[in-house]
């Protein structure tokens, strides 16, 4: 996996020699059918595109699922999933079920 596309480990086993990875967490069970229940990852990426690409490389199909069905909280701020969202080293990213209102 190239550095540009992000580097991913399951949380706790960080990739040596890279900048502080982001803590990436899936809320609830929505990612389980792809990840077999793994919910937490450490990923080094510059932006959300890198995070999604790295996860999709690990679990094919997960990337599209994340793009279509989730909203993302980066350090608590909720955004629509967009490739361009910057990922600060060491930040906390939650993929949460997308919400629609009345």
């Amino acid at each position: 996996m190239s550095r540009a596309s992000g580097r991913v480990t399951r949380h706790g086993s960080r990739v040596a020699g890279v900048r502080t990875p982001a803590r990436v967490v899936f809320t609830g069970d929505f990612g389980d059918r792809y990840t077999g229940g793994v919910k937490e990852f450490a990923i080094e990426a510059k932006n959300l595109r890198g995070v999604i690409k790295a996860l999709d490389a690990l679990y094919p199909g997960l990337g599209e699922h994340l793009e279509k069905e989730t909203t993302v909280a980066i350090d608590g701020e909720i955004h629509e999933v967009g490739y361009y969202q910057p990922v600060r080293p060491g930040c906390e990213i939650f993929f949460i079920p997308k919400i629609e209102g009345g």
Binding site: V25, T27, G28, D29, F30, D32, K68, E69, T70, A73, D75, G76, E77, I78, H79, E80, G82, Q85, E92, F94, I96, P97, K98, I99, E100, G101, G102
Partner: protein
């Protein structure tokens, strides 16, 4: 009466004022065009045949007699709509399964509720179409039905779908049931949390299904041309979404369908999805004529999506010092005939107001023989808030603490984790509670048979995709076009933000809602997102226009664009050019449109993030008549964090509207079914929404804690206000009669029954 609590800020000229709404005169003079007001040459009338049964298998449909009736141009059934693949697509809360959706638009193998569409007719008149419906022969095999959510979950309940295996359970059950999905959110250690509690309070509560109560029934005009191009004029909360769903249901390419937004007479979430549009368009495709369908009120009640009924149990563990240490909630929601209730929202919002270290929310989405639920104002959250805020009230009483102080002591703040993972990041929760604690109404004395209740509530609010175009006319007026339906005065808010950004008067800005072929995509006007997300698009488009105007002023003055600033609606020389020229107004530059480069236009599309949640705390005083069981609301005060009120009157209106709907939900509104599963109160005479004479003046407190992620600090304001209302009323009634009420609506018979029970 309204109060505004707002921070110090730079002086704004337009934002925060109360100008007239641009759609006001057309609406009060009757010239505004709603869905039913459109017609076309050669137009036919469409009518829909609906199931008289709550649950039945369709053995056959014979349309031959209807087809032969003079004046009938076409009869359609589900055979005229393409079959759809069985798969859940899109966001989990609102995952669309087109296999389900096409069956909701027109039944195929079975009817799942009374009012389910079975066939439709296009004829030269409404009366001919009605007569033709009576000639359609449907052979039904009537099946057992189930309405109540607890009954639908029983192992021996009649199954709506013989192959429905509950999702969200590992390993998957080996038997089908009506439980479409189980979901769970959890943080901390629940057992340890409850073990640390001094008191544990628990209650089981139920709510009845309710309707959004919009005044305008669904209506549309559809035209399908021989070349495959089609147009629809319809009242909805999002004409782009109506286009996408209708095209898919008819097997069309989206580009061949143009949807025009009619004025909308209320939606509240109920008009996020199509009902009549695919039917009218399919009939137009069959006949070659435009077809108009207007639902009756009875059809609206029987066939359009209501909010779900529920059955819930909430348990809270609290220490004597007032700290909530554990909370557990089980929320069972009626999805209606097809999966997809807002139970996930309910689970996520239920405990969101509070900082609780150990918490769990479990939800069940359960199908039953009622219309498929639709969104209703903060969908899911008012229902779970009713349960949680009732138990919070009981817990405060158990430890002898003031209920607002108890909430304040446990309130979530930036850094508090939510049950779904991320930490809260925005302020505004504590301020609404403090606002009510300072309110004179909170300490006002109560009389005999009177009670006071308070409650708080959380709603996410939404951002997302929006587009805006700004056109500068040669006389200095400005058109702001967006793709966002205007349910609540958003045209005014968007025009005000444009005027403020450009530095011109509000009355120089004309805001419009453009059709799907005339502006970039705009998502639903739902989730309290329009003023936030579309507002960002408008402001960004105005900034691009300003850059354009500065460049043109520079051209006129023959200076560099960097030496031109935009201030108070004028281009002014700056830097090395400062003082060399008189300012040029937007109007003066627009007058030189042609020689400076042609039309002055900017269009911006955004996928807006950085949304801040809505939070409200409400106070209700009631008096209960012990002879009749009638509840009179004496006082209602609603404090809501609104970020910044762009047009305070419309923000107050949103809060008052949400509170009024919540009061109706709490006291009177419910679907009443007979033993055959038929709705017996499908009209506003028997389905009792509150009217003005039922309500006191609802007092609003606008708490303004700006959202730093919006150019004017906007937070969505349309939904958080209904979230606490149900519980505030229920807590007030419970205190008035000295007994805990656990079922909505608290209609007079239920009050009398409670009064006759032991304390």
């Amino acid at each position: 009466m309204s109060t505004r609590l707002k921070p110090e800020e730079k002086k704004l000229k337009v934002v925060g004022t109360r100008p007239l709404r641009p759609d006001g005169v057309p609406k009060v003079t009757g010239i505004a065009r709603y869905g039913a007001d459109y017609s076309a040459p050669g137009m036919l009338w469409g009518r829909i045949l609906r199931s008289p049964h709550a649950h039945a298998r369709i053995r056959s449909i014979d349309t031959s007699k209807a087809q032969a009736l003079p004046g009938v141009k076409a009869v359609m059934t589900s055979a005229d709509l393409p079959e759809q693949k069985f798969e859940y697509v899109g966001p989990e809360r609102v995952a669309v399964n087109f296999w389900h959706m096409t069956r909701n638009i027109m039944a195929r193998e079975k009817v799942f509720y009374e009012g389910h569409a079975v066939a439709a007719v296009a004829a030269i008149s409404k009366s001919t179409a009605e007569e033709a419906l009576r000639l359609i022969e449907v052979d039904y095999e009537v099946l057992p039905h189930v309405i109540d959510v607890e009954e639908a979950m029983r192992p021996d309940a009649p199954l709506l779908f013989e192959d429905m295996i509950t999702r969200g359970i590992d390993p998957a059950p080996d038997r089908p049931s009506n439980i479409s999905k189980r979901l769970e959110f959890k943080i901390g250690d629940l057992d340890a949390g409850f073990a640390a509690a001094d008191e544990i309070v628990e209650a089981s509560l139920k709510t009845a299904p309710v309707h959004q109560g919009y005044l305008e029934p669904q209506a549309c005009l559809a035209r399908f041309d021989p070349d495959g191009q089609a147009e629809v004029w319809a009242s909805s909360q999002g004409h782009f979404v109506i286009r996408a769903l209708t095209a898919k249901l008819l097997g069309m390419e989206m580009g061949n369908l143009r949807v025009h937004p009619a004025e909308i007479g209320g939606g509240f979430g109920g008009k996020n999805v199509p009902y009549v549009e695919p039917v009218a368009l399919a009939l137009s495709r069959k006949t070659g004529h435009p077809v108009k369908i207007v639902m009756s009120r009875e059809e609206v009640f029987k066939a359009c999506g209501p909010a779900p009924g529920s059955s819930m149990t909430v348990r809270i563990g609290v220490r004597k010092d007032g700290k909530i240490v554990a909370a557990d909630g089980v929320f069972k929601f009626q999805a209606g005939a097809f999966p997809g209730s807002p139970v996930m929202n309910a689970c996520m919002c239920a405990f969101a107001p509070y900082d609780i270290p150990n918490v769990r929310s479990v939800g069940y989405d359960v199908v039953c023989n009622r219309p498929k639920t639709a969104a209703y104002r903060a969908p899911g959250s008012p229902v779970s808030a009713y349960a949680v805020e009732s138990v919070v009230d009981m817990a405060a009483a158990r430890i002898g603490m003031d209920p607002l102080q108890f909430r304040l002591q446990n309130i979530a703040r930036p850094g508090t984790p939510t049950v779904w993972g991320p930490k809260h990041t925005h302020e505004g929760f504590t301020e609404t509670i403090q606002a009510l604690m300072k309110h004179p109404g909170y300490r006002a004395p109560l009389g005999r048979n009177q009670g006071r209740g308070v409650a708080s509530g959380y709603w996410f609010n939404n951002g997302g995709e929006s587009s805006a175009a700004v056109h500068v006319n040669e006389d200095g007026t400005v058109v702001v076009a967006t793709g966002s339906a205007d349910l609540s005065g958003t045209r005014a808010s968007l025009a005000m933000m444009a005027a403020e950004t450009l530095g011109i008067d509000y009355d120089k800005v004309r805001p419009i809602v453009a059709d799907t072929a005339s502006i970039g995509y705009g998502h639903l006007a739902a989730g309290s997102r329009t003023t936030f997300a579309t507002g960002i698009a408008v402001v960004e488009a105005c900034k691009k226009v300003i850059d354009n105007l500065r460049a043109r002023a520079a051209m006129i003055w023959d200076v560099s664009a960097e030496d031109v600033i935009w201030e108070d609606g004028c281009a002014r020389p700056a830097g090395g050019s400062k003082g060399r020229f008189e300012p040029l107004s937007l109007k003066a530059i627009a007058a030189k449109r042609g020689v400076t480069g042609g039309p002055i236009v900017a269009e911006v599309s955004v996928n807006a993030g950085g949304v801040a949640p809505g939070f409200a705390t409400e106070l209700c005083d009631v008096e209960v008549d012990p002879e009749t069981g009638q509840v009179k609301v004496l006082r209602f005060v609603a404090a809501q964090d609104v970020g910044r009120a762009i047009h305070p009157s419309y923000v107050e209106g949103q809060i008052q509207g949400g509170a009024a709907q919540g009061i109706g939900w709490a006291l009177n509104e419910e679907y009443i079914y007979d033993e055959a599963g038929r709705l017996t109160n499908a009209g506003f005479l028997d389905y009792r929404v509150p009217v003005a004479s039922d309500l006191p003046r609802i007092e609003t407190v606008l708490v303004e804690v700006p959202n730093p992620n919006h150019p004017f600090g906007v937070k969505g304001v349309g939904e958080a206000n209904i979230v606490p209302s149900l519980a505030a009323v229920s807590n007030a009634v419970s205190h008035a009669i000295g007994r805990r009420m656990t079922e909505l609506p608290m209609s007079p018979p239920k009050i009398l029954k409670a009064l006759s029970s032991e304390r």
